[in-house]
Amino acid sequence: MKLANQIKTISIAFFICLAATNVSAQVSYERILNAQDEPENWLTYNGGYKSQRYSQLDQITPENVTDLKLQWTLQNQVFGAWQSNPIVIDGIMYITERPNSVMAVDAITGRVFWKYRHVPAENALICCGANNRGVAVLGDKVFMGTLDARLVALDRITGSALWDVEVGDVDLAYSVTMAPLVVKDKVIVGVGGGEFGIRGYVAAYDAETGEEAWKTYTIPGPGEPNHDSWEGDDWEHGGAPVWITGSFDPELNLTYWGVGNPGPDWNAGQRPGDNLYSDSVIALDPDTGELKWYFQFTPNDAYDYDSVQVPVLADIVWRGTPSKIMMWANRNGYFYVIDRVTGEFLEGKPYVKVNWSSGLDESGRPIPTPQPEGMPTFPGNQGGTNWYPPSFSPRTGLFYFSAWQDYATIYAPEESDYEPGRAFLGGGFSVLAPAPGAPTIGIGRTNPINNWTNEVGFASLKAMDPQTGEEVWSYDQFDVSDSGMLTTGSDILFTGGREGYFHAIDARNGDMLWNVNLGGQIVMAPVTFSVDGVQYVSVISGHALSTFALPH
């Protein structure tokens, strides 16, 4: 009350034009390169170039986590699943909101400094929700991809647009839903549209001007290597989108990108061949876009097994040898360990029931066992896992992710013709249900009643040992989960699920430490940061972004 009495309007000018350039606004490439050394910030989509979603912060411990208190909540102003990942820089959070807004938020109070609205073109076409998964930063700029396939740069301090360039043709259903990846002086994005017969690509733009630096198609054209993995003109509309942020190894100078399904989705017979580089991980030179290697998880995919999972990198002693590995729990139901220098397959084992394939050969290629017509395929259409970000803790040596257990789909492939800007799916599917007409799992959850129940599938948080490819422990939930993972320097694993519980789990053994019902589906990973010596953890549930800390 005392302060309020002191606030008054006076007629004296204050000289506020003091600094020509604000040095603190600069987020240099070097800072991003060494993001793990400033755990008070969350500088990239996956918390650093290795995409481990591991933070050294350790103020919140297994012992005191039950003391966590809600600090603030930011309410979303729009409908739909909120899949955005916050970036936090020096106490300021950058978060996107559907369809394509960006907000700068005070990370201590949750109050908004500015909001930028990009209104996507009316004919933007998105298969599975008008999602945006967040921004990237470099220098004094923030970058966002848009549903109408544009890339926008904003001033990080004022929120005003600096440039706005076309990434893809919106009339052909190209879109961008991922958070961009900044490498050196370039902003790199991939395109969505795999359900609409696009030809996917990854493209890089000059961070200063927005000028395109390179563009690498995920489907090789005539004369390029592996073009013969397609027949006729199938490659022109073969999908292979890239809609999840990649990773980067600065020593190898390679970026890694997960590539989505071939099109049409479910009628593999319509596009004979391996359909490269659909359902693959590709390694690209960030300076030129040149393809250095690839590894395909699911050749000639008939099940929509996008490989859009986050490539998680680690430098560990693997079976006795110091190794640069990549860990990958794939939508197709197998967990892989890959040599990220060469792309060589090291290990791969199923982590859920798999019946579309009877195993992997020594090169990692699946042995196909397609199911008879009308019979269920495991895992189902949404996969054993999907795009939700995993975590790797260097402390425990374990890889954590959300799996869908006992979930199956019955596919009904059909011949379909490509037409620009229209769904190109090649048939349909239904989900195995316990009773005719019973509700089955959908892409998201908006009903507060779980009327599909665990009988059509449920979440299993799995902790995998990359040394063996085996599960060390798991934590089941009644509903399925699209939640990502966060691990900390105090061995806490933070995650969520569709039920709206925000969980703190002991990363070492899977013990439940604390949970709170936030009431809405959690469909992104939590992040952690610190300001003035206080560790915070933020998570989005339903339409609210909530931030917790210990009493301070």
Binding site: P376, S430, L432, P439
Partner: protein, 269 residues
Amino acid sequence: MKIRISRIARLWGLSTLPTLALSALIAMSTHQVLAQEVGDHQYTSEAVEAGSAVYTQQCALCHGPQGALVDGINLRIGQFRTVQSDTDLRQVISEGAGEGRMPAFSLRPEELNGIIAFIRAGFDPEGEAVRIGDPIRGKALFEGEGQCADCHRVRGVGPRTAPDLSNIGTISTPASLQRNLLDPATALLPINRAVRLVTRLEETIVGRRLNEDTYTVQVIDSQERLRSLKKVDLVSYEISDEPSKQPTTMSSDEVADVIGYLLTLRGLE
């Protein structure tokens, strides 16, 4: 402490289903759902059939094969958020809705027409008929020898332990009502299963499941009380696969009459 969560009666998991039973259960494609209350289709059967194909290609990914995957919307039985007329439907499909949650689709006129026809036909591209009898006779059967009213409540009358049927005519189809009467075991929705819970305080609660998550379960118990239990407070939790009722012994004419009555139960309409 880990509680025992078991399934009693016909205990099966999805992965262990015998093939025969499985093939029966998976007969859940759009072809199987029947709808008759629309009476004379105002759309041609060709339009309905064409709409079925367009629906599968364009709509089923989000709305699901049964049209019920988006909360508050059940296309098959005509439940919408805002749509009333066919013109409304046409507008939502063509222009989108819900801040981009429902995208705009550019469809050819005959495709748009087909989708609306398919939705209005209750997802029944083949037009198979379920016999619908006399509602007045059906009401008498429902309340009398059919013994439905022994467990089901209608418009404020009857017990609450089985699902309240006051608006069943707006949320079910003739085919699913028929299945429910003739073969209740295959019609029982998993969320509605009967449960028996024993608490640490040695209270036994028998009821019908209303909702469940990882840590809690919500039921209506045999005393018609809404109960929410934490699983950590339970020593046993059993879920029955058996419906509480047997297949009806009514004649086919009587079944048709009861279905006719149930279809008139449309809430406060």
